[in-house]
């Protein structure tokens, strides 16, 4: 895949465009409305994103895509994460790596939504038991994001990537704790077409991790900003609560987490875009650094607010739910810390050899 990359000015323009779109069409009340819907998906917002070329961000220009790179994906995901956008951006980014031709074109146009089920060693849930034999997929994949709204399914493992039509998939929507990120268990029984190898599956997983890292960075930053704004305005004992060192010191620590997440996500995106030698380590680092930062900013953000953020009507818990669901998509921070050491170890051995 040859990725066109943007210059700094174009990236800023892209970010501003996406930010404006979310400010306009993905307000907190929009998010809450979609949370209450059956699908948990905002088709109108998704259409707008497709029109802007965001659904086809990674899709080749020849098939109607924007043909951009992981760097721009991360940028868009920061905005989506800040807005809690209930649209299948991560699944679509992953599918973009796996599809070409008419399917890629349909993906970029927003006509087709693809859900990706990671299987085998790439499956972190441990609950999936899909077997692919003789051109047929059989068994269940657990916790598949966006499965409820998917038109096609991509089964990705170290052995390769297979495409299954929705007609061959039995979907059981799950009552997800994070209502902005829907999942389903999917029972497959039908034809599976091989469309890629194990390397493609791992590339898709890495793109998913970069997208998630961007989402978590944007979410961390937004809930942090909301919290610090409140600490400036909320008065108790005759002074702004942000003047108390008990609050101020928490804010300083969270800023370090948010900035570190920003750096980690950016580095992972760049290294994935360039296919750099350190990309496995960079992706692993971003996977736990961004997840941990978002979780901590969301958790401490509620604590720093006090009672107001314990109410359903306050947005803080929406961010905490998002932070908690992201951790479960590709493996939790324990897993990625372990893989980070493995990646660094492998790099050191390679350099020594």
């Amino acid at each position: 895949m040859t990725d066109a990359t943007m210059n700094q000015e174009e990236r800023t323009a892209l970010r501003d465009t996406v930010r404006r779109l979310f400010a306009d069409q993905c307000t907190e009340s929009d998010v809450r409305r979609i949370m209450e819907s059956d699908s948990g998906h905002d088709p109108a917002l998704w259409r707008s994103l497709a029109e802007l070329g965001i659904a086809g961000l990674l899709v080749a220009a020849g098939t109607g895509g924007s043909q951009l790179s992981a760097v721009e994906l991360k940028l868009v995901m920061e905005e989506a994460g800040a807005a809690l956008a209930p649209v299948p951006l991560i699944s679509t980014a992953m599918a973009s790596v796996l599809l070409d031709g008419e399917l890629a074109e349909a993906l970029a146009a927003g006509r087709t939504i693809a859900a990706v089920a990671l299987l085998g060693a790439l499956d972190w849930t441990g609950g999936s038991n899909v077997r692919i034999e003789g051109g047929r997929a059989q068994g269940t994949a657990r916790f598949v994001p966006d499965a409820g709204i998917a038109d096609i399914f991509l089964l990705a493992s170290d052995e390769g990537v297979h495409l299954v039509e929705r007609a061959s998939a039995g979907i059981t929507p799950l009552p997800t704790f994070d209502r902005t990120r829907r999942m389903a268990d999917v029972r497959f029984d039908g034809a599976a077409t091989r469309i890629g190898d194990g390397a493609a599956a791992r590339r898709a997983r890495d793109i998913g991790l970069v997208a998630l890292a961007g989402e978590q960075t944007g979410g961390a930053r937004r809930i942090f900003d909301i919290t610090v704004d409140y600490a400036r305005e909320r008065h108790q004992f005759g002074r702004a609560i942000g003047s108390f060192q008990a609050i101020k010191h928490m804010a300083a620590d969270l800023l370090l987490e948010a900035e570190s997440a920003t750096s980690a996500a950016r580095d992972a995106a760049r290294q994935v875009a360039e296919g750099a030698v350190g990309k496995d380590a960079a992706v692993a680092l971003a996977a736990f650094a961004c997840a941990d930062a978002f979780l901590r900013c969301a958790k401490d953000g509620i604590q720093m607010h006090g009672g107001i953020a314990f109410t359903w009507d306050h947005p803080a818990h929406l961010y905490l739910r998002r932070a908690r669901s992201g951790v479960q998509l590709f493996g939790d921070s324990r897993v990625w810390r372990d893989r980070y050491v493995a990646a660094l170890d492998a790099m050191q051995r390679e350099m020594a050899a």
């Binding site: 610090v228 600490a231 400036r232 002074r239 702004a240 942000g242 003047s243 108390f244 060192q245 609050i247 101020k248 010191h249 804010a251 300083a252 620590d253 800023l255 370090l256 900035e259 570190s260 920003t262 750096s263 980690a264 950016r266 580095d267 680092l285 736990f288 650094a289 324990r334 810390r337 372990d338 980070y340 050491v341 660094l344 170890d345 050191q348």
Partner: protein, 395 residues
């Protein structure tokens, strides 16, 4: 003058004059390269951004960089002191003309040793609470008090001193800034033994020491303002030094040192150790990525909030690395001495981590600074800010 002309001039001058000099050993004392530095000063290369009347060439920042790069390429010291010489910059900005004429050329040539007389046993984080007094006498001031955390005091000719000159005004408004001559009766320097069993710092006991009128920097009782510019220079010098160190030897291998240690200890497959190793390395790598990003943002002209986070981040890194090194060693960490270098390292680094988490502003003060200056959170009310210092409770 065009950039090319300037570059040609400085390169020709270096070719004609630079013959190599002994390496510098002590950062505070008299400089062994004084003769060379005097040559650099007199040629106008030491402080090219400064006014012509003061050894400068009134060059722009960009042109001064050309001079610094030419010196760096030749391996010659002495250029760029308009950024790096804390003492000379402070003197140029605030000293009386008569004192400047004496001290500035000596400072630029490294002919005088310098030290800082700021902190006191009772004024650490709260520096404006100093109780060292300077009392007016004929022709100058008599100084009495105790200073602490002074590097290079033994070989210093002057100390940059803050002392209280008015006790009947609030604490920030009764402080004056002096260049105190160190080689006199009444100035006693005692090495301070640190928890690491090293002695990098001294206590300085000052009893009726004399400082002439012309050694007062800035207005009488305006010392707090002078101190702020001196501290700003100090921070920028420290920042340059830290950046220089980071771009040097450490690199990826330094970042990943804990991996090596865990492997050597045979514990790299211990899942608990792996978690700790990953987290400690991650903090180091993230700090480096943050610093790179900050530099890029500064280069683009946007102000960066990340710079102020580096020291806080480093405190956590050093403390956690000390803890992890100790865990990897186990009972061997009970030992010390040259036969047990790994234990020496682990124990030294565990204790020396406080150098970063306390020195130059504790982590707690650093969090205040980040909260207030970066995030715009209001300050804590200070009950001693507006009352005469004489009435402030001490101890």
């Amino acid at each position: 003058m065009t950039d090319a002309d300037l570059q040609a001039e400085v390169e020709a001058w270096l070719a004609a004059n630079w013959r190599g000099a002994p390496p510098r050993e002590e950062s505070f004392g008299r400089d062994p390269r004084a003769e060379w530095l005097a040559q650099v000063r007199d040629a106008g290369w030491a402080v090219p951004r400064w006014p012509r009347d003061w050894y400068g060439r009134e060059l722009s920042a960009e042109q001064a960089k050309i001079v610094e790069r030419a010196f760096a390429a030749a391996g010659a010291p002495g250029a760029g002191q308009d950024r790096s010489n804390l003492w000379a910059n402070t003197a140029l900005a605030h000293a009386t003309d008569s004192f400047k004429r004496v001290i500035v050329p000596q400072l630029l040539a490294g002919e005088v040793g310098m030290c800082l007389l700021y902190s006191e046993p009772g004024a650490g984080s709260d520096l404006a609470a100093i109780r060292t007094r300077a009392e007016k006498v004929e022709g100058g001031w008599r100084v009495t008090g105790q200073k602490i955390w002074t590097s290079g005091a033994v070989i210093a000719d002057y100390g940059m001193l803050i002392a209280r000159t008015d006790w009947d005004v609030p604490k920030h408004r009764g402080i004056s800034f002096f260049f105190l001559p160190m080689r006199q009766e009444g100035v006693e320097v005692r090495p301070l033994r640190q928890i690491t069993d090293e002695s990098h710092f001294n206590e300085v006991f000052i009893t009726d020491a004399f400082v002439p009128d012309e050694n007062l920097l800035g207005p009488l009782n305006g010392g707090w303002g002078v101190l702020q510019t001196a501290l700003a220079y100090e921070r920028s010098v420290m920042g340059d030094m830290a950046r220089g160190a980071r771009s040097g030897a450490a690199g990826a291998k330094g970042d990943h040192a804990m991996l090596e240690l865990a492997r050597e200890a045979g514990k790299l497959d211990d899942p608990v150790v792996r978690q700790d190793v990953a987290q400690v390395i991650a903090w180091r790598v993230l700090n480096k990525l943050n610093t790179q990003r900050a530099k890029a943002e500064l280069a683009q002209g946007t102000s960066s909030s990340i710079m102020s986070l580096g020291k806080l981040a480093m405190s956590r890194i050093l403390h956690e690395e000390g803890r992890l090194r100790t865990e990897l060693l186990g009972p061997e960490s009970l030992l010390e001495g040259p036969d047990h270098p790994r234990a020496e390292d682990a124990n030294f680094l565990s204790l020396n981590a406080y150098f970063t988490s306390i020195g130059g502003g504790t982590d707690q003060i650093q969090r205040n600074i980040i909260g207030e200056r970066v995030l715009g959170l209001p300050k804590e009310p200070e009950i001693d800010r507006t009352i005469p210092f004489r009435e402030v409770r001490a101890g």
